[in-house]
């Protein structure tokens, strides 16, 4: 069996704010295997963003071990350069760069030569349907187009691991649905291991082969093997129902914890 692309083992993260300590993640353990499309679903404040930040290596866990592509994302930060791609909730395009230069941003960080950079950026803009907008500045593009540029920027560095952090939540439903389908197509074609972080049940049920429902304080409440459910003849609605049940349990648990804390 191949080693997991991402492995969280007994991970906890504690913060101290204004003298008070609070737990963002507690004893979090899960693996993501090559080619898997995992969705992490949970309500606001359930530790999704902290898990993402830990996964990216932007902070160190208080306890436990995290391995991403056989490296410690915090301790070996530079070793993972170009190996993790991320699509953010808002496109985060650099407003002073044209679409093609925005796509080339990650390649510049990787010190790819100018010509190859331009070719790869052009290729990916064409693949996301923006071949005619290479020299457009972000303010000249619609929200959907900007998010496409950001998707192209992520794929251009060809990372083995792809993260999408609420990638469609800033878009209207029609655009989001279309982009979700397109992104899923790209993930399938490029065979990327992907983690979607979302609070959208529809997004998780449509995209993921496996779903982890997070509950406060940052722990897995329920694991849903969506691919297996679908293979058994169930629909996305059945998967959605499972997710909602998981979210209900997470809410119930959070309320119990609040009551205990007084």
């Amino acid at each position: 069996m191949t080693s997991p692309v991402v492995s969280f083992s007994g991970v906890s993260k504690h913060f101290v704010k204004d003298g008070a300590s609070f737990v963002a993640c507690e004893n979090l353990s899960f693996d993501v295997h090559p080619g898997e499309v995992l969705a992490i679903v949970g309500e606001t404040g359930c530790g999704k963003s902290t898990a993402l930040s830990l996964l990216l290596g932007l902070q160190a866990p208080s306890e436990g071990t995290i391995r991403v592509l056989d490296a410690d994302p915090f301790g070996q930060f530079d070793d993972l350069r170009g190996r993790i791609g991320i699509i953010f909730q808002n496109d985060r395009l650099l407003p002073w760069r044209t679409a093609i230069d925005n796509v080339a941003f990650g390649l510049e960080i990787l010190r790819v030569g100018k010509q190859e950079r331009q070719e790869r950026a052009r290729h990916w803009l064409e693949r996301v349907g923006l071949g005619n907008f290479l020299n457009a500045y972000p303010h000249q593009l619609s929200g959907g187009m900007r998010q496409r540029v950001s998707i192209a920027r992520t794929f251009a560095i060809n990372p083995p691991l792809l993260l999408a952090d609420e990638a469609f939540s800033a878009l209207d439903e029609i655009t989001a649905t279309k982009l979700r389908a397109d992104l899923l197509g790209l993930i399938g074609e490029e065979k990327k291991t992907t983690i979607f972080i979302t609070h959208s049940v529809a997004e998780a049920s449509e995209l993921a082969s496996r779903i982890l429902v997070f509950g406060k304080p940052g722990r897995v409440i329920r694991e849903i093997k969506a691919a297996e459910i679908r293979a058994a003849g169930a629909t996305s609605d059945d998967v959605s129902r499972e997710i909602r049940e998981g979210l209900r349990l997470a809410r119930q648990r959070a309320e119990t914890l609040e009551l205990q804390a007084g």
Binding site: F88, I109, F133, A136, L141, S142, M145, L171, L186
Partner: protein
């Protein structure tokens, strides 16, 4: 894989895209006429001030309010006589050299302040303190501290303009969008890459703003600095004009300096236009 005609998402193809924008042909004359029309308020202001000035010559002696003709004659003297032109050039060069030096030092200090909170904590009050000292006090200090006139003027200009640069840049670095900073981190940009590819381009609008503010400030400080000890420069010439009650000369030197300021501002506008061409029209002042 995604059809281009559906790429728009929200709002569809709402844009006019650089490189493919349809610009209607404008004749050369119409283009220049539009430019002149844009300057119409400035021209009207100038004419109004000139008319008011000329009108007041009816009530005051030429020694107090000289007629426009005398001022024009003095301006001609400045631009046609080499020794006068040298004074104007000397002040112009002093201002720009000191501002460039001040900009480099101020940017370095501002970036350190914006990047390291500890530096900011101590540097900010110090810069505010320096800003609070009147230019004339710095002139007195400089006269006592430095024997060389050029060093004296450079010091006064530097101390007069550096705090504004540093504080502007500090504030600009502080306000770089956290989203963009996190973008750099997510792509694992090195500190230098983060600075060159995100921070520096992001603070260009504030840098240009600091130049615009400091240019006027620099000209004013330069004239004050030249009042003592200098034998060349607009400040010195103004002192000479005052000594012989030459009001026309004083106004002519002042106007010449304002013209220098306009030239510098024009250059800054051109640079600004080039560096900030990515901004939407509505954001451009």
């Amino acid at each position: 894989m995604i059809p281009a005609n559906e790429a728009g998402g929200t709002g569809g193809a709402k844009m006019s895209v650089a490189g493919s924008a349809q610009v209607s042909p404008v004749t050369g004359i119409a283009h220049y006429w539009r430019k002149i029309k844009k300057q119409q308020p400035v021209l009207i202001d100038l004419v109004a001030v000139a008319a008011l000035w000329q009108f007041s010559t009816l009530f005051f002696s030429p020694a107090i309010v000289p007629p426009l003709g005398a001022i024009g004659h003095s301006i001609w003297d400045i631009f046609s006589q080499w020794q006068n032109l040298v004074s104007l050039l000397a002040t112009s060069i002093r201002v720009i050299v000191a501002l460039l030096l001040s900009f480099v030092l101020g940017t370095m200090i501002g970036i350190c302040m914006g990047s390291f909170p500890a530096v900011r904590t101590y540097a900010r009050p110090l810069l505010h303190m320096i800003q609070g000292v009147p230019a004339l006090s710095w002139v007195v200090f400089a006269v006592i501290w430095f024997a060389n006139v050029e060093i004296r003027i450079a010091f006064i200009l530097l101390i007069g303009t550096l705090p504004a640069f540093a504080l502007y840049i500090d504030s600009a670095v502080q306000s770089v969008s956290l989203d963009l900073v996190q973008l750099g981190q997510a792509f694992r940009a090195s500190r230098i890459q983060q600075f060159l590819k995100i921070t520096l381009p992001a603070i260009v609008p504030e840098i240009m703003g600091a130049w615009t503010v400091n240019l006027g400030n620099g000209i004013r400080v330069a004239v004050i600095a030249e009042l003592i000890g200098s034998t060349v420069g607009v400040g010195f010439q103004l002192l000479q004009a005052q000594a012989i009650f030459d009001m026309a000369g004083a106004v002519a030197w002042t106007l010449s300096l304002v013209a220098v300021l306009f030239v510098y501002q024009g250059i800054i506008s051109l640079i600004e236009h080039e560096l900030l061409k990515w901004r939407p029209k509505s954001e451009v002042a």
